[in-house]
């Protein structure tokens, strides 16, 4: 092959984007007809011999295809010389010479010739030939019309286009265009640049019509690479940061340091560290929820108190308001769509509406003789829904007037109430193992039936997915867009006596988190269903979790141990980074210890801070001269 090349100058390749054609740049190269050299025919011969050759360890990539799409990519990027050289050297032409001729004829506007060439190209499906001819002849038709040659255009329509017997509707439109040419002119502007535009469109359409073996689809290689990146990102179990610019050079993989796994350290003004273990409640904490904007956290507890916490910019969470007034513990809290108000539902008691800024109770909703079990805001924030102990659902306006009541088996005593994005459907648990999606305007009902009793559910942010917690310690994910479909199941956490809540969270809600009766928080990767992390730290059953919608690195959990923990990222601090730079190859971890008997403390030993990864409970003890007994873990690699 090399010898042939020395004799002949490389055949001229005219790239479409040269000045004469005025700026068209798609990857189709055109060979100058005149200089079809010996190397071409040699190349073609060699190419056909190599048809079955494969590349890569798996043997699924055909060499011919790979070279062709690389050549197309080179032309698309503007490296036409390189592209031509590749074609020559590999002996694999990007397109057959017939196709090149065809494209050139299209660009020159030689419609009839191009149709003839089209017929010569072997397209197995005759209908494709017809469709492609139609498209070309349509262009011819419009050109004649633009040039004022009405009768010629009509002739083309009658003798060339209509006999193809395809696209009957379009034929109708075209004949109408002849009759009222003014309409035609309005749609199409004449002029040099619009001609180029329409040529480009024509080529694109032809590319789509013709099979990819004949004309390589534009940017095919780029498309394949993008697909690969998508797959990598989907497979990444810990993908929780939008920071990641995916590189082509390595497979994308987030470390698990991007998921909240560490009870956050906050700092008070005196540079004394305080843990984000919030201990304001005096009884078991049953429920908590971040506001939609992530600036507030509302929690409720067995002490009948509701606390509103403020999430500061530095991640510090502090008390904002204490809302008292309920006589029973609050089982459910709902933030208004604009986050200015809060609904709290006492267990089979009243519903109260609070203003966040002032902490005042704006309205108490009551129904004589009955109690409420759940509450929720309408999508427009102008009315609220509630589940009642008599199994009905009521709708109220903000002033406390009951607007509507739907009786019947609508809800059982489970405190969850959901509303779909369009505000039209209410989601409640209507029987022990059935969820009702109730369109309150049309009264239509859809059901999700489970084979186990349901304990609670959560709605995703886009309201298209429902996460249902079941009696048998499973979480089921349902797609409720249109017809309900079971999508995934998550297992691992423990639940036997209480209601344990779960939630969606993380970047694009790609994680599922749940509390558990074994005092841990469980986190699964949503797409794969894999359990990626368990967070230990609480000393009582974790009743509820909430992931900050505005901060994918913040998670809050509420527990029977009367505390709320705020979890954040496992941070290597500056000192330890410096040490790494000094060449000390060791992993240094933060040490967090909570013992049953001692208050949580932190150890500072010179500049070194010890960290434990909060994972599957691998612990080793090491004695350190200090006042308290504590567990530490120091891991190092040599």
């Amino acid at each position: 092959m090399g010898g042939v090349e020395d004799d002949e100058p490389p055949s001229k390749r005219v790239k479409v984007s040269s000045g004469e054609s005025g700026g068209l740049s798609n990857g189709i190269s055109v060979r100058d007809q005149g200089s079809c050299s010996i190397s071409d025919s040699m190349a073609r011969l060699l190419a056909s011999q190599e048809d079955d050759e494969v590349v890569g360890s798996r043997g699924v990539i055909k060499k011919v295809e790979l070279v062709r799409i690389i050549a197309e990519a080179l032309y698309s990027l503007g490296y036409s010389k390189t592209g031509a050289r590749l074609e020559e050297e590999s002996g694999i032409p990007l397109h057959s010479s017939l196709v090149d001729l065809f494209v050139q004829q299209i660009l020159d506007g030689q419609w009839d010739e191009s149709v003839t060439t089209l017929h010569e190209i072997d397209l197995t499906d005759e209908s494709i030939t017809k469709l492609a001819s139609f498209v070309i002849l349509e262009q011819k038709f419009f050109e004649l019309l633009d040039g004022g040659k009405l009768m010629d255009a009509l002739k083309t329509l009658r003798t060339e286009i209509a006999p193809l017997c395809v696209n009957g509707d379009r034929v109708r439109e075209l004949s109408y265009v002849i009759v009222s040419p003014s309409q035609n002119l309005l749609e199409r502007t004449s002029g040099q640049e619009s001609r180029l535009k329409s040529l480009k469109k024509l080529l694109e359409e032809l590319q789509k019509l013709l099979p990819p073996t004949v004309i390589i689809p534009e940017n095919r290689l780029v498309h394949l690479v993008e697909q690969a990146l998508d797959l990598q990102r989907d497979a990444c179990r810990f993908h929780n940061s939008s920071v990641a610019e995916m590189s082509l050079l390595t497979d994308h993989q987030c470390g698990r340091d991007r998921i909240p796994c560490q009870t956050l350290q906050g700092y008070s003004g005196l540079d004394r560290p305080s843990f984000q273990i919030l201990q304001e409640h005096s009884d078991e904490v049953w429920f908590l929820q971040f506001s939609h904007n992530g600036k507030y956290l509302a929690s409720s507890s067995g002490d009948c108190l509701v606390i509103i916490w403020e999430v500061k910019v530095n991640g510090q969470v502090s008390v904002r308001h204490r809302l008292s007034g309920h006589q029973k513990p609050v089982s459910y809290i709902s933030w208004s769509p604009d986050d200015h108000q809060l609904l709290t539902c006492g267990m089979e008691e009243t519903i109260r509406r609070w203003d966040i800024t002032s902490g005042e109770c704006l309205q108490v909703y009551e129904k004589t003789g009955l109690g409420f079990v759940s509450c929720g805001w309408a999508a427009d924030g102008k009315s609220i829904f509630s589940g009642v102990t008599d199994k009905s659902i009521s709708m109220w306006d903000l002033e406390g007037k009951e607007l509507e009541c739907w009786k019947g088996q609508r809800t059982v005593r489970i405190a969850d109430l959901g509303i779909t994005t369009d505000g039209k459907e209410l989601i409640t648990v209507c029987k022990e193992n059935t969820i009702l999606l109730f369109n309150w305007e049309t009264k239509s009902e859809k059901f999700i039936e489970e084979n186990q009793n349901i304990t609670s559910f959560a709605l995703s942010e886009d309201r298209k997915f429902l996460l249902v917690s079941l009696w048998n310690e499973e979480l089921h994910l349902w797609n409720i867009d249109d017809c309900p479909k079971l999508v995934a199941k998550y297992k691992g956490h423990k639940r036997s006596r209480y209601v344990v809540r779960s939630c969606f969270g993380g970047l694009e809600q790609s994680f599922i988190a749940s509390g558990s009766e074994d005092s841990q928080v469980y986190i699964w990767h949503r797409l794969s269903g894999e359990l990626v992390l368990t967070l230990a730290g609480h000393t009582g059953a974790v009743n509820c979790v909430s992931w900050n919608p505005a901060n994918p690195h913040m998670l809050a959990s509420a527990s029977d141990d009367r505390t709320i923990r705020i979890w954040g990222l496992n941070r290597l601090n500056d000192d330890s980074r410096e040490m790494l730079r000094r060449g000390r190859r060791c992993n240094i971890y933060y040490c967090v210890f909570a013992s049953v008997f001692f208050n949580p403390l932190n150890i500072f030993q010179n500049q070194i801070k010890f960290i434990t990864p909060i994972t599957e409970g691998t612990r080793s003890t090491k004695r350190i001269p200090l006042v308290c007994i504590c567990f530490t873990c120091y891991n190092s690699t040599q």
Partner: protein, 220 residues
């Protein structure tokens, strides 16, 4: 549930009524000669200009039925001026008849010219252009695209049923214009009977009674 035919005997009929029914039918369909003999036989008088009008209407009707729309339009304009301006749908139908005739006789240039000149006022209204309620311009213009319109998807536009339909509409419009009833009494009677029978059979006959068939009734 058919009524007992013996019940029919209990209903008395007036001869004049029957005459009226027959006459209205004849007038509606322009059977001038038959009408004259009928009148002669029954001994009634009709105003003479009635007969002349009928003759004119008859000619218009038959021109339309043959597809000679231009003649039909001309005579209509003469006989009932302003009728076609009022009835734009009808006007459009007639023009399209003429257009179809031109296409069928392969006079493509003429057809194109005709379409461009005559159809432009209609082109402004969307309902004539697109396929909404009625046969639209697009359907007719599409005939231009085919060398053999009879084999095109739009062949139904050339059918005699279509022409019949247009001729009938024209007839009714002219009758209405000259203050005569646009439906003959006979037609109405038959239509009413059919509807009534269908209602009755629907109400009583959920257990498989056949719907009313005029054909069968006429045979019995």
């Amino acid at each position: 549930m058919d009524a007992d035919p013996r019940q029919y005997e209990n209903i008395g009929l007036n001869e004049n009524d029957i005459h009226k029914i027959v006459k209205s039918y004849l007038v509606h369909n322009c059977f001038k000669d038959t009408l004259e003999s009928f009148i002669a036989c029954t001994g009634e008088m009709q105003p003479t200009d009635h007969l002349e009008d009928m003759e004119k209407r008859k000619r218009i009707y038959y021109f339309a039925l043959d597809g000679n729309a231009s003649k039909a339009i001309e005579l209509t304009e003469e006989f009932a001026p302003g009728l076609l301006e009022e009835n734009k749908d009808l006007h459009f139908d007639l023009l399209s008849l003429h257009f179809v005739e031109l296409v069928c006789s392969r006079k493509i240039d003429e057809a194109l010219g005709f379409a461009q000149s005559k159809f432009t006022p209609f082109g402004k209204e969307q309902k004539y252009v697109e396929k909404l309620e009625m046969l639209s311009m697009q359907d007719f213009m599409a005939l231009l695209a085919y060398e053999e319109p009879e084999k095109s998807p739009m062949f139904h536009l050339l059918s005699s049923e279509h022409r019949q339909h247009v001729a009938d509409s024209l007839n009714r419009a002219i009758l209405a214009h000259t203050k005569l009833p646009s439906y003959s009494v006979m037609e109405r009677l038959i239509q009413q009977t059919t509807v009534v029978r269908q209602c009755l059979s629907q109400e009583s006959g959920k257990d498989g009674h056949q719907p009313f068939s005029l054909k069968d009734f006429l045979k019995s």
